[in-house]
């Protein structure tokens, strides 16, 4: 004969587990378990075939070049980003990662975008050098066209003795709108491509 009282504790434990399972959905509403995943954003550039290859480098005047700018949001909520496109020569400052400060150079072009959590935003960017002058060891990039807008950049570059050319860097800074401070803050991400404009010059 089976003594049912001997199984009383097992039976109660089983029932308790079933009660807990039934209570999980309601408990989930009030108890938030942190998922432990890191919150961050990504910024990247792709070449004309939308792959990480074939980036423009040797630039000619009045030739159009295509790249893609991408941003991914892993912040756990929708975010309002701004990407500033800036141009520098070899000596002008880049953003500083150690203190999260952006480059002091003024932006030429910009994108404003809203990206959902775990979503990606990508857009093409066409650029064309319209006028560049060179005299001796100095080059002056006078105007640049980016996605239909013409900009008077007046950016100079000195002859690079090591790489034998005039170089400029087109770089992209990621900024994020901060709802607490109600302002855009540099998000400590930047990417860029070097452009060799030696063949784009017209002798002054």
């Amino acid at each position: 004969m089976v003594k049912i009282e001997e199984y009383r504790n097992f039976f109660m434990a089983g029932s308790l587990i079933l009660i807990l399972i039934a209570a999980v959905p309601a408990l989930g509403l009030f108890i938030r378990i942190p998922d432990g995943s890191e919150r961050f954003s990504e910024l990247w550039l792709l070449g004309p075939t939308r792959k990480a290859e074939g980036y423009p480098f040797d630039v000619q005047v009045n030739e159009s070049y295509l790249i893609y700018v991408g941003v991914a949001n892993r912040l756990g909520r929708s975010a309002y980003y701004r990407v500033y496109v800036k141009l520098r020569n070899q000596t002008q400052p880049l953003p500083t990662a150690s203190n999260s400060s952006p480059s002091i150079l003024p932006p030429i072009y910009e994108f404003d975008m809203f990206v959902r959590d775990d979503e990606v935003w990508e857009k093409p960017l066409n650029f064309k050098v319209l006028e560049a002058l060179a005299a001796n060891d100095t080059m002056l990039l006078k105007s640049l066209q980016i996605s239909g807008f013409v900009f008077e950049v007046d950016g100079f570059s000195l002859w690079d003795e090591e790489r034998l050319g005039f170089y400029y860097q087109l770089f992209f800074e990621l900024w994020l709108y901060n709802t607490t401070s109600s302002s855009f803050r540099y998000h400590n991400r930047f990417v860029g491509i070097w452009l060799n404009m030696t063949d784009a010059r017209m002798h002054a």
């Binding site: 959905p25 509403l29 929708s78």
Partner: protein, 154 residues
């Protein structure tokens, strides 16, 4: 004859003076108008974004709203770049387009937030009631099984 000459000279002077003094004033006024339009558009966009965040937190679907905001964001960026290039008329045009989309999004977000909040409250009730029903079922089922087994094996 000399009076006529004098009048001509005075007229010519006023015409030149108008070009010299009025043009910069009009240009300043255009710049001011563009600057105000951009500031308005920026403010609207931020309000719209904050309203969308509230909808998202309430559990609402914000895919469509964010797509519209992206369109407005393109206009706003174009407005700022036109302004930087001194094209104030285009800056006002783009800023107004951005602002009007931003306003639409903000209004839609407020409506959606109320809906999402109501749905959220309903969801909470369903979940809580479902859990309570489940617990009642488990407890009564366990008691019944225990009672049945006890009767059978004693």
């Amino acid at each position: 004859m000399s009076i006529l000459r004098f009048l001509c000279a005075v007229m010519t002077f006023f015409v030149f003076a108008a070009f010299v003094f009025v043009s910069p004033i009009l240009a300043d006024s255009d710049q001011e108008t563009a600057s105000v339009a951009i500031a308005d558009a920026e403010e609207t966009m931020i309000s719209a974004y904050e309203a969308v965040l509230e909808v998202e937190q309430a559990g609402g679907n914000v895919i469509g709203l964010l797509a519209q905001l992206n369109e407005a964001g393109d206009f706003l960026a174009s407005a700022r770049m036109s302004y930087g290039n001194g094209d104030f008329a285009s800056a006002v045009y783009f800023a107004d387009l951005g602002r009007s989309i931003g306003e639409e999004v903000e209004n839609a977000a407020h409506e959606l937030k109320d809906l999402a909040t109501d749905e959220g409250v309903q969801r909470v009730w369903f979940t809580v009631l479902g859990s309570i029903s489940g617990i009642i079922l488990v407890v009564s089922g366990s008691l019944w099984v225990w009672w049945f087994l006890k009767r059978r094996y004693q």
